[in-house]
Amino acid sequence: MPFDFTFTPEQEMLRKAATDFAERDVAPRVEWMDETGETPTELVRKMMELGFGAIVIPREYGGAGLGHIARIAVLEEISRISPALSFCLQIVHLGQSPVIYFGSEEQKKKWLPGMAKGELIATCAVTEPTGGSDVLGIQTTAKREGEYYVLNGRKCFITNVHISNMHGVLAKTGEGPKGLSFFMIEPNTPGVKPGRRENKDGLRGLNTGELILENVKVPRGNMIGGEGDGLRVALTAISNIGRPGVNGVALGIVRRCLEEAAKYSKQRILYGKPISELQAIQWYLAEIYVDYETTRLLTYYAAWLRDKGARCDAENAAGKYYSVEAAVRCAHKLIQIFGGYGVMREIIPQRLLRDAEVLCSAAGTQEIMKLVMLRKALEYSK
């Protein structure tokens, strides 16, 4: 299929808006986020006011319906300044996606307008202490009691858990792959408690923590899809929204690496000339550049496929597999270019490396990505 993902005027304006927001409002808060690990809730609120939370919600439900290329453009621009805040936004979108893809008309009308306005921010709580890749091994249960399900369990590594007022939760309603169901827990439901806050090495300022569910009564009407559809709901959300979101964040990191590498190597004088004239540095620059272009193409290509309504699980997985490793690789090369300065806390390269490392296990490990890609790879036997 011939592809063209030139930005439309709307997408270009949106990209500019995200750049303005990131450079003007986010940049002054980045150091504070990294130092304290605190989430700048006022910036999250501002993103919602600007409508960044509404990008993928269809217009008929109060959203912008601007699609996946637009989403990636925004994530890239914000991540260039703060990967942590960009990741926060991508999870806002992830929390909406079970309702967008599998919600009934009634559920969409009930929640999506509030999500588009940023009044409702939902998590997508799948991972448990037993692991995220082994989805069937989760322990959280949902027991039917009349018109309700009663949920009990403990989720971990849940992004945005302390700043969200809704929770999308995968729980066991039976055994095996058809024994999982997905529920939306509405604000102020008794028994829902965000637990410990994780103290991560990177993406500091991005809220991550536990979600504890103790006898949480959820109306039957809050189940997304039918009983036993949970695995499909969760995996579709992660594949369609979670993984490309990680790609967008990684893309922003790779781009920042390229920008910082080019800028520093032209300014830094060694042996009487800018280090950009030294071949060792030139090779680093060329390698970072090719990683940027490749990450960009993989990421936008998958987003373009999604906007066309095509299935793109393998492309999203390929993008995620490549982009996060490119982000780590480029940040490491950036540190080499900066020399000793690269590991100083007040200078950016070391932060980009710490941020990039966190992406490796997000939305599925690299090994899970290989499994997803393998299915597509084997199709080429035909």
């Binding site: 270009e12 509404a54 912008a64």
Partner: protein, 264 residues
């Protein structure tokens, strides 16, 4: 407030100025591949218009003159919240200097009557003449104030603060008037997703020279008394000399050197 007209211009993005080259034959700027934006000070003018509308009501109409791609700047202005946009776009306007531009804009403004206020950025980042707003006011025979950093709208007048080199002056001006603003006046809002969507349903009107009843010999190259004889990139010959030693001695050396090279 009946209507606030905001004049905007699409200009090359200053972030990309280093990529700009000069065509040695045509003596014009090569803009290919250079991102365009709304002139930064024009965004402040638009922001002020939107704030005045929020307080006093009325409509915000954007007026621009430029090539067909300037429609992007108009669309962006609508996304910021302007109600309607007009683009003067005609090959006959190509090559207009500030006088011809101000004349064409004034003819368009006359078609947009009635209006209460015209807001402009004080100057553009490409031309930097700051001449168009006062010339526009002269063509329209209405008052103007430049370098405006604060506007208070009254019944049929405005009280404005106009920045001077040292300090500012307060001016009471009858409306309608042309006010050209500086960046200190406000912080422009960031485009919102919903503004971008709404913009697609708002109207961008394109006018040519005949639509505004302008005289052909007063616009374009022919209507422009300015003649560009040469355009070149100045050679940068900056040098740095360090004078060390006790302060008085070092200052003495520096002064002698400045005399030597003819600064004084």
């Amino acid at each position: 407030m009946v209507k606030i007209i905001v004049c905007i211009k699409q200009v090359p993005d200053p972030k990309e100025f280093s990529k700009i080259t000069i065509d040695p034959l045509r003596k014009t700027i090569v803009r290919e591949g250079i991102q365009s934006i709304i002139n930064p000070l024009d965004k402040h003018a638009l922001e002020e218009a939107l704030r005045i509308r929020e307080k006093h009501g009325g409509r915000v109409v954007v007026l621009s003159m430029g090539p067909p791609q300037a429609i992007e700047a108009c669309r962006e202005a609508l996304a910021f919240g302007a109600d309607e946009a007009f683009l003067l776009c005609d090959r006959l306007l190509a090559g207009s200097d500030t006088l011809a531009t101000a004349y064409a804009l004034s003819k368009a403004v006359r078609r947009l009557k009635p209006y209460s206020l015209i807001l402009c950025g004080n100057e553009t980042v490409d031309g930097s003449t700051g001449q168009v707003p006062p010339q526009l006011a002269e063509f329209l025979e209405i008052p103007h104030v430049t370098r405006v950093r604060r506007i208070e709208i009254g019944e049929d007048e405005a009280v404005v603060e106009s920045m001077l080199e040292y300090g500012y002056r307060v001016v009471k001006v009858k409306l309608p008037a042309v006010l050209s603003v500086v960046k200190e006046i406000n912080t422009p809002r960031i485009l919102s997703v919903f503004g971008i969507i709404e913009a697609s349903s708002k109207k961008i009107n394109q006018w040519c020279v005949s639509d505004i009843d302008a005289s052909i010999d007063m616009v374009g190259l022919e209507g422009s008394p300015t003649r560009v004889t040469d355009v070149f990139t100045p050679e940068v010959k900056r040098r740095c000399e360090v004078f060390s030693g006790p302060v008085e001695e070092a200052v003495g050396k520096a002064m002698r050197r400045l005399h030597e090279i003819g600064v004084f």
